[in-house]
């Protein structure tokens, strides 16, 4: 989320593991998972046995991506468990897309969102992953493989991750319609976004996306000014208002774009919006200062507002969520030992510790089942099951996030991820949409 272009280099000490390379790692992981499950600690699993291959020790991998998952603690843990050095660079999502396409030699591992992947992968700067080399592939949520959370769920609109999750062959840049052996991005983190509100400044229940257009909130609303995401929120709003019925909100026609932008322009002219935000900090400030009482928001921004002692709710809405997902992929130039290390790292990523870390921040792990072993029961129940916390919920850094008794906004994993209306996406008419969006901003 950080807007700064910072390079973090892990400073974790290299661990002096003595274990020889073990052929049956999977069984050991399970054992380790069980062991740490007993530990019941949030991250207090220092005695984790080393089971990872030793020849990748001290290999350096350069990973860049949005700040969401570019977390130093992960690099430190990777150093501890795998012995690899992870250099992290955090950028905003637009910059990530730019860097991925224009400077493919500057990174080894790209941590990008699926809709960015849809832009980047066809440029031929990345290589697909051989899923047969990943021990934890079958733990990945089906959301990223078939697109369905359960057998009978419907696939949401937009760039659903599974639609750009696979290519036909090792050399192909064409996305496959069915799961294949070649995965473009291994999912790491995802969430469902909705509107944030100030319950203390709003005296009626908020149920729909269209509530943001309520004249009662005139001059006290905001949406985000990142065209590819903003247009989605706008589409959710317009559809909720009953003004437009989209065939696919993630891939609008020109007429749909025109109509959507016209509605936005009108609202802007009427003074409905206080501001448009582009960065995490801006959204937090708008909300915390009371300039805005209802706006599109990201989950950690809601947490940040609450951390200031200001009430803020990540309000579930009837129409469902706008969702997004990120994954890590390999740069085309990666080969040999570094490629091996990258595979090792990605497999480790799915093995549970990282997932648990991210879940404690309010995101979801791509392989939830592996993460369970790394979370306390209270944590798992609060974050995944939507049950009231039995004890205080702490962030991975140990800061208080929720008091005992609190229930997660939106409820359980199934309730939230099962109500995704649309995935972040890039449209065929992207160029046109951006121009219309600019028109809206300039109007």
């Amino acid at each position: 989320m950080s807007q700064d272009d910072l390079t973090h280099t892990s400073k974790a000490p290299s661990s002096d593991s003595t274990s020889p390379e073990n052929p049956s790692r999977r069984t050991l992981i399970k054992a380790a998972g069980a062991a740490s499950g007993l530990a019941l600690g949030s991250g207090a699993i220092t005695g984790f046995p080393m089971v990872w291959s030793q020849n990748i020790k001290n290999v350096t991998l350069r990973q860049f991506g949005t700040g969401v998952s570019n977390i130093n603690a992960i690099a430190e843990k990777a150093k501890e468990d795998l012995g690899i050095n992870l250099q992290l660079t955090a950028l905003d999502s637009d910059a990530v897309a730019q860097r991925a396409v224009t400077q493919p030699k500057s990174y080894d591992i790209a941590d990008i969102e699926y809709w960015i992947g849809k832009k980047v992968f066809p440029a031929g700067v990345m290589q697909p992953l051989d899923v047969s080399r990943l021990k934890n592939f079958d733990k990945i949520s089906s959301l990223f493989v078939t697109g369905k959370l359960t057998e009978d769920s419907t696939i949401a609109q937009g760039t659903a991750p599974h639609t750009v999750g696979f290519v036909e062959s090792k050399e192909s840049t064409k996305f496959a319609t069915e799961p294949t052996n070649w995965m473009t991005l291994i999912p790491t983190i995802y969430n469902a976004d909705t509107l944030g509100i100030r319950p203390d400044l709003i005296d009626r229940p908020i149920k729909n996306w269209k509530d943001i257009m309520d004249p009662a909130f005139k001059g006290k609303t905001s949406i985000l000014n990142i065209p590819s995401i903003g247009i989605m929120d706008a589409a959710m709003i317009c559809e909720s208002m009953g003004e437009i019925q989209y065939a696919d909100k993630g891939n609008m026609t020109r007429e749909e774009i025109d109509k959507t932008i016209d509605i936005l322009k009108e609202a802007k002219k009427a003074g409905q919006f206080r501001a448009f935000w582009k960065s995490f900090d801006e959204s937090v400030n708008l909300m915390a200062s009371g300039e805005v009482v209802i706006q599109s928001m990201w989950s950690p921004a809601v947490a940040a507002v609450r951390a200031k002692g200001i009430p803020c709710i990540y309000q579930p809405l009837e129409e469902g969520y706008r969702s997004w997902g990120g994954g890590i992929g390999l740069a085309k130039h990666l080969s040999g030992l570094e490629l091996d290390a990258a595979y090792e790292y990605i497999d480790w990523y799915l093995s549970g510790w990282v997932g648990a870390y991210l879940m404690r921040q309010g995101y979801y792990s791509a392989a939830p089942s592996t993460s369970k072993a790394f979370m306390s029961e209270n944590e798992w129940n609060f974050w995944m099951e939507g049950k009231p916390a039995t004890a205080d919920i702490l962030s991975p850094e140990g800061k208080l996030m929720e008091k005992a008794g609190a229930v997660r906004d939106g409820g359980s994993y199934m309730e939230r991820m099962g109500h995704v209306a649309c995935w972040n996406s890039v449209m065929d008419e992207n160029k046109y949409m951006v121009r219309k969006w600019n028109e809206f901003i300039a109007s």
Binding site: V120, A275, V434, I441
Partner: protein
Amino acid sequence: MNTPVRTFRSYWQVAPLSLVLLCFLVFPILTIVIVSFWDFNAYQLLPDFTFDNYAFSLTSDVTLKAYLNTFFYAIATWLITLILGFTVAYYLAFHIESNLMRNLLFILCTIPFLTSNIIRMISWIPLLGRNGLVNGLLTGSGMVDQPVEWLLYSDFSVILAFVHLYTLFMVVPIFNAMTRIDKKLIEAAMDAGASTLQTIFLVIVPLCRSGIVIGTVFILTLVMGDFITVRLMSGGLSASVGVLIYNEISLLQYPAAAADAVILLITILIIFSILFRFVDIKKEL
């Protein structure tokens, strides 16, 4: 003594600067001009020779609106910083006698630059926001019933931020020009019966022309090229040319951004060529 050796040597002397300018000014601008004729899609740049980017920009209402907006910001900021900057420079040059005091006051003028852009922008919220200090005073004193909304996220706040930030760029060149005015000229004007205002407009202003023009160049380039102040202070509600270009860049639409940048560059150059009609900058420096 213009022997070939001397000529050769003098070329060597200008070589480092020429090289720097070539590498860091001419080459990047050429690149931008070339890219502005390329095509692009959502994924990549497509080398080409197309006028589409220009055709779109030059015929689009958005461009026109953004330019009108940018000119509005530029002219309003220019006018206010000119009046403010001239007044401050006048005070510093003619009313402050001690050098120490003058330096102290100059440092005072640089305070806006002591904080980062983002922090500065964010700090406006507690001042101008709905629940901010100013509104607190206004409602508290009963001057208004409802908080004044246009203080923040409006053209007012954009121009306020520009003025807050850039007045120094007007003060310095005008002050510089003023210090070169012979104090005797002011006495001569007084001797001729001129009032203070007459002295300012008939003697000081004409003699500060070079400073005013240089300050104007600063202000116009800074404001017309800005995107961050406009975005943050208008709350993203208005767009200047810089914001348009920034949006295009962040969406990988480099050719469109390059074309807009070239148009902006040409616009600014035209403005400056008109400006320099009024003053021979080389002579005045």
